[in-house]
């Protein structure tokens, strides 16, 4: 059996890639994709620990997260579409009206 550290390393790597994407990308689509990466990193953790402990709860949880991610993509793409309509581009740094 693959030791859990390997899964953890994998998920940490994917999470960092996602985080890097969130922090550096300005395009909303990349942004969304990076968020998906971070979620999937969490999913890997959940599944790995479920396997390790022999408890299905983690896997069930991962299913929930996938459902959540689907919903999020739906809303996220909607937001990006609105962004594009209003600003003509999908750069997240352009709309700054939502502050104080």
């Amino acid at each position: 059996m693959v030791p859990p550290e390997w899964y953890l390393l994998l998920s940490a790597a994917i999470f960092c890639i996602g985080l890097f994407g969130v922090l550096t990308r300005r395009d909303a689509l990349y942004f969304l994709m990076s968020v998906e990466l971070m979620m999937n990193a969490a999913n890997i953790n959940l599944v790995a620990f479920a396997l390790y402990y022999g408890d299905l709860t983690g896997q069930v949880f991962a299913l929930f997260v996938i459902a959540l991610a689907a919903a999020e993509v739906a809303i996220g793409i909607g937001i990006i579409l609105v962004l594009y309509r209003n600003f003509g581009e999908t750069d997240v740094t352009v709309p700054r009206e939502m502050r104080w």
Partner: protein, 678 residues
């Protein structure tokens, strides 16, 4: 049998009802409610006579009639104390009030004043308050009515409120007496704290308890580790503060001359029977307490003597009739205080009685002159009124002789007794002797300014148009003058102690017997009891010169009479001429000082302004510092908020960065504290 004492509340309430009637319905009544006031005070007067007759028959009354506030800690009650002293005072007050009401018909109604209902309402309330004060059986009730008297003086002095002067004078009168009353209130509260009661008379009264405390049979509360005697002296002085304020003693006398802004009948009432008399009456009422504290007595005597002389000197240079009378009032009440300080309760009461008559007379006489002079009060515009208003002249002259203390007018007897008592007791006490010397020096000054006033007003040639053709006065002016004129002549005969001592005629010292409970009274409230207290606790003893009481008596009486006659003669020499001139220039630099009342008012005004400066400073401090801190906190919050909100840029990436940063910091903190990295 109908009991006179059952009607004592009516004595107080009748003028109070006249107040209500005049206030509520005065404008629909003839004469603005005057008749209601006259009827009420007449009723009170008759009832007072009845009460006095009952006291003469040997009965007294000392009962609580109403519990104002009960409780375990204190019982605060109203009650009636009718003994020889208060019965006498009731008669004086109601009589003067009645005459003043009648006189007001001439002074106010006939002169076409407006606001008469307010005037008669004020008079009614004034009389009622004073009567309530007189019959009070405890210090709290006395204080309450004492304050109401102050309110009434405010209302009446400020009667002509549309002019600038009277409201200012009214404010000053209330404020200065309030300052005195502050000390009275502290003293009153101290009496409650010390004795648990403020009753004047009876075995459970505070003078009785104070006596027991001094001989050790009562454990009195004292604050701050003070001894009983020291504490009683302080309490006595505190209560005295009220008396000094109301009786216009130095240094709280400055309100009284200003109070001349009020209508003249009001001045008569204030000076003769109500407000100013209240202070002296208060000290007399609780004399059983003062007799225990020699220091207080000596201070009372000294302040009294000083005031007598001090006020008399200012009276010398005044140009307005009522101003002279105002200073004479201050001076005469100084004599009464001197008498009380000298331990002579009877002499003080005696002078209170005679002074009430002759001073009311003089004020009403002055009022008659003022009517005649079309409200010009300057004596230098008068002259020669003697032939034009004979009734006023002769009664005024009787009052002046009494004021100057000329034998055998009433003032002579009382003033002589005061000076005699101060002298014999003063031989062993320097403070008291000082009071006596000042009192004696005031005698010629008093006689001088009194007759200066008489001569300038009535003698010589008229010095103005109005004096040549004065306004006539009616019965309602002459009637009260005649009554008071007669009393000013004969009132002294109720207490001819010197004659009794010299000639041995028994029974002509009626007032002494009256106040000594010879006709009946309350134990512990009598002249001889006070004398015992004075001898035991204050160490008062009567001195003699040349080893003979008779010689002492003759010397003291001769001295004061001689000085009085001297004063009259000087005034006669200087002012009883057809064309009198001001001789004030001879006084040199002293003239300005006297004209300006020793700059007393300036000092008080200066104090008032400094207080306002302090208040202004406090306001600046409050607005600047205290509220500044409050506003500062809000400004700082706003400013910080303004800075902090700039973090919120609206750029999603930066939010995400901050989220991450926060997470990292959190992990680091948890890690360091949780020891993960070790």
């Amino acid at each position: 049998m109908v009991d006179a004492f059952a009607y004592v509340p009516a004595i107080v309430l009748l003028p109070f009802f006249s107040f209500l009637v005049a206030l509520g319905a005065g404008k629909y009544l003839p004469k603005g409610g005057a008749f209601g006031g006259i009827a009420a005070t007449a009723g009170s007067f008759l009832l007072s006579l009845w009460v006095a007759a009952t006291v003469l028959g040997g009965r007294t009354y000392n009962e609580t009639i109403y519990t104002w506030a009960g409780g375990d800690q204190f019982e605060l009650t109203f009650g009636l104390l009718i003994d020889p002293l208060s019965a006498l005072m009731l008669v004086i007050v109601t009589l003067i009030a009645l005459l003043v009401h009648v006189f007001s018909l001439g002074y106010m109604n006939d002169e076409g004043e407006t606001g008469l209902p307010r005037y008669y309402a004020g008079l009614g309330l004034f009389t009622a308050s004073m009567l309530g004060f007189v019959v009070a059986d405890n210090l709290l009730m006395a204080f309450m009515f004492f304050e109401l008297v102050g309110l009434c003086s405010y209302l009446l002095i400020g009667f002509h409120f549309r002019q600038p002067g009277p409201p200012s004078a009214a404010k000053k009168a209330f404020l200065v007496t309030r300052f005195g009353d502050y000390f009275f209130l502290v003293g009153l509260v101290a009496v409650f704290a010390t004795f648990g009661t403020a009753q004047f008379a009876g075995p459970e009264s505070f003078p009785a308890l104070a006596e027991q405390a001094l001989n050790g049979s009562f454990d009195a509360w004292t604050p701050l580790g003070l001894g009983v005697e020291q504490w009683f002296t302080i309490v006595g002085l505190l209560v005295l503060g009220g008396a000094v304020g109301k009786s216009a003693q130095f240094p709280l006398h400055t309100w009284l001359p200003d109070a001349m802004e009020g209508p003249t009948p009001v001045s008569a009432l204030i000076h003769a029977a109500t407000m100013v008399a209240a202070g002296v009456y208060l000290v007399a009422r609780m004399f059983g307490f003062y007799a225990l504290t020699p220091t207080t007595l000596a201070i009372i005597a000294f302040v009294g003597g000083f005031t007598a002389l001090f006020a008399a000197t200012m009276g010398v240079v005044k140009e307005e009739l009522k101003q002279v009378l105002a200073y004479s009032t201050i001076s005469q009440y100084g004599y009464m205080m001197l008498a009380l300080g000298a331990g002579s309760y009877v002499a003080a009461t005696f002078h209170l009685l005679t002074h009430a008559f002759f001073k009311a007379l003089l004020f009403l006489g002055a009022g008659a002159v003022i009517i005649a002079m079309h409200h010009n009060e300057n004596m230098w515009d008068m002259g020669g009124l003697k032939s034009k208003m004979p009734v006023t002249y002769w009664t005024f002259l009787a009052g002046s002789l009494a004021l100057a203390g000329i034998f055998p007018f009433s003032g002579f007897w009382s003033k002589d007794e005061i000076l005699y008592e101060a002298f014999i007791h003063g031989l062993s006490d320097p403070l008291l002797l000082g009071g006596w010397i000042m009192g004696l020096l005031a005698v010629p000054v008093t006689a001088f300014y009194t007759f200066r006033m008489v001569f300038l007003t009535f003698h010589g040639e008229p010095r103005s148009e109005t004096a040549r053709d004065p306004h006539a006065v009616r019965w309602n002016v002459k009637g009260p003058l005649t009554v008071l004129g007669s009393l000013a002549v004969v009132a002294g005969f109720v207490n001819m102690v010197p004659v009794q001592k010299l000639l041995g005629i028994e029974g002509i010292d009626f007032l002494t017997q009256w106040l000594d409970n010879d006709f009946g009274g309350i134990d512990g409230v009598s002249y001889s009891h006070y004398n015992d207290l004075l001898a035991t606790y204050a160490g008062y003893e009567a001195g003699e010169i040349a080893g003979s009481a008779e010689t002492t008596l003759i010397v003291a009486a001769g001295l004061s009479l001689g000085l009085a006659v001297l004063g009259v003669l000087v005034a006669w020499k200087l002012y009883d001429v057809p064309e009198p001139t001001e001789h004030t220039a001879k006084l040199g630099g002293a003239k300005d000082v006297l004209y300006n009342n020793y700059y007393q008012d300036e000092v008080q005004v200066w104090l008032a302004y400094r207080t306002e400066d302090v208040a202004g400073g406090a306001d600046t401090f409050d607005q600047g510092i205290i509220d500044g801190v409050v506003n500062g906190i809000s400004s700082v919050s706003l400013a910080v908020g303004d800075r902090v909100r700039r973090i919120q840029t609206g750029v999603v990436s930066q939010y995400a960065a901050m989220l991450t940063l926060g997470l990292v910091v959190l992990i680091l903190v948890l890690g360091v504290t949780g020891g993960w990295f070790l």
